[in-house]
Amino acid sequence: MNVLNFNSEQCARIRRQLDAYLSNELLVETTSDVLRHLESCEACSRELEARTRVRDALRRAAASQIPPEELRQSIQRQLRKRQPGFSGGSRRLIWVVALAMLALFGGIATEQWIRVLRGRRMVAGVLALGVSDHIQCAIKGHNYPDIANPPEQLRQKLGPQYAGLLDVVRQKLPGFEILEAHICSVKGSPRKYVHFITRGRGTILSVILTKREGEQLPNKKGVVSGNSGSVSLYEAHLEGMNAAGFESKEYFGFVVSDLSPETTVQIASELAPPLKAALDAASASEARLDLDAVPFSRAARAQP
């Protein structure tokens, strides 16, 4: 190999650019410089020609390699046996499915949880009707005598529409004395309540009925606290009281006290089926129960 000492720095520079020139990778301005130099420099022109000759020879030699037709056919046969995306794709597919399942079940669980929360909020909203009447009429208003009013007086206060319920409450509430029964309301609301105020187990317990005004208790798993016969029972702890509730076709029924939640629900489970049956039967009969038809005593009005 010869070692050259270029006299011209320009030749050395141009030759360093010849590879890029040959590959058409030079900028336009640089290409012009190279071309100008090549026009006037025979040595560099020969060098470019030599490099071009090698490249062309390489292209010809490469083209002489004829791809075997059998290989092409063999590849095509194998392609038709296989499905694309089988290995890498299937791994990705598994991930996609796993994430989708996670999102789906996560979504379902979240939705279920939200439904339960909504249901419990609805229950609390309905049971709050009974709790507010119990607190304002029985507890704060103390609208009951220390000695129980005689049953006849209570029947009179309840009126003929609701007098029959007095026996149901008495029978299904052993150990409790019915001190008072009347129709009352809570200040600020036109809603009326059939209110039985009882005493037993060292406390005051209210059995309250009120007409539904479009509201309903959600019959959903996770919201219903239990069943008594075919009646669904609901419970809530509100304003320091435990309340259990149920619904008939036209009424809500509540048992409200400061007894334990279990006791409150247990008492409600005894009362709910016969009360519901009586209320539904009355709703179906021509002599419909009508709270507005019952004389409304100011003495029975719940105090705020």
Partner: protein, 189 residues
């Protein structure tokens, strides 16, 4: 497939098989023998078919196939070449500009070129083939081979010179005289 658009083998063949000769020639000029070359090309096509659902229609299928080719080649090369040899050759690059260009024989036969090419280290050979035979740009070569642009340029320059050296040696052994085109100092304007 459930999540991927349905791909037909006919579509794949239409897009990929026209590049079969290019891939085969490149493989044949890089591999030690035809069996290795055929294995390589076959693997490239099967790999490409498996991932054809990821190929974007309308983009450069040839560049995509060569990318897969060099990915597969990486596995094959472990059997072929020694990296240390390349490193030594690359390190000598700085001095290379001081060495005169080897004379090129006037008559170059295909077998001489193939024989000379076989003597060039594969790391240089593959860049020379992509640039001079397949006519990829420097940028495309860098992307295909996952190499820095500067490495592509230096390997191409070095590879061409090595090929020329080997070619002169092969031609000389067959009694072919070099052309009188070697540069002489001080001839430039």
């Amino acid at each position: 497939m459930f999540f991927y658009p349905k791909v037909r083998v006919e579509d794949f063949e239409t897009a990929a098989m026209p590049h079969f000769p290019d891939l085969y020639r490149t493989a044949r000029l890089l591999a030690q023998d035809s069996t290795e070359a055929e294995d390589l090309v076959q693997e490239v096509y099967l790999e490409a078919w498996k991932s054809f659902h990821r190929f974007q229609t309308g983009t450069n299928c040839r560049a995509w196939l060569f990318k897969i080719f060099f990915h597969r080649l990486h596995h094959f090369r472990r059997r072929w070449a020694k990296a240390a040899r390349v490193q030594a050759l690359e390190n000598s690059e700085d001095q290379d500009s001081l060495i005169a260009e080897t004379p090129v024989p006037q008559e170059i036969r295909d077998e001489d070129v193939l024989q000379a090419l076989g003597k060039v280290a594969i790391e240089f050979r593959e860049v020379v083939l992509l640039a001079d035979v397949q006519e990829f740009s420097y940028k495309e070569i860098a992307e295909t081979m996952k190499l820095p642009l500067g490495t592509v340029m230096s390997r191409l320059s070095r590879g061409r010179k090595l090929l020329r050296q080997e070619l002169a040696g092969v031609a000389h052994s067959f009694g072919i005289t070099p052309a009188k085109d070697s540069p002489r100092a001080g001839e430039s304007a």
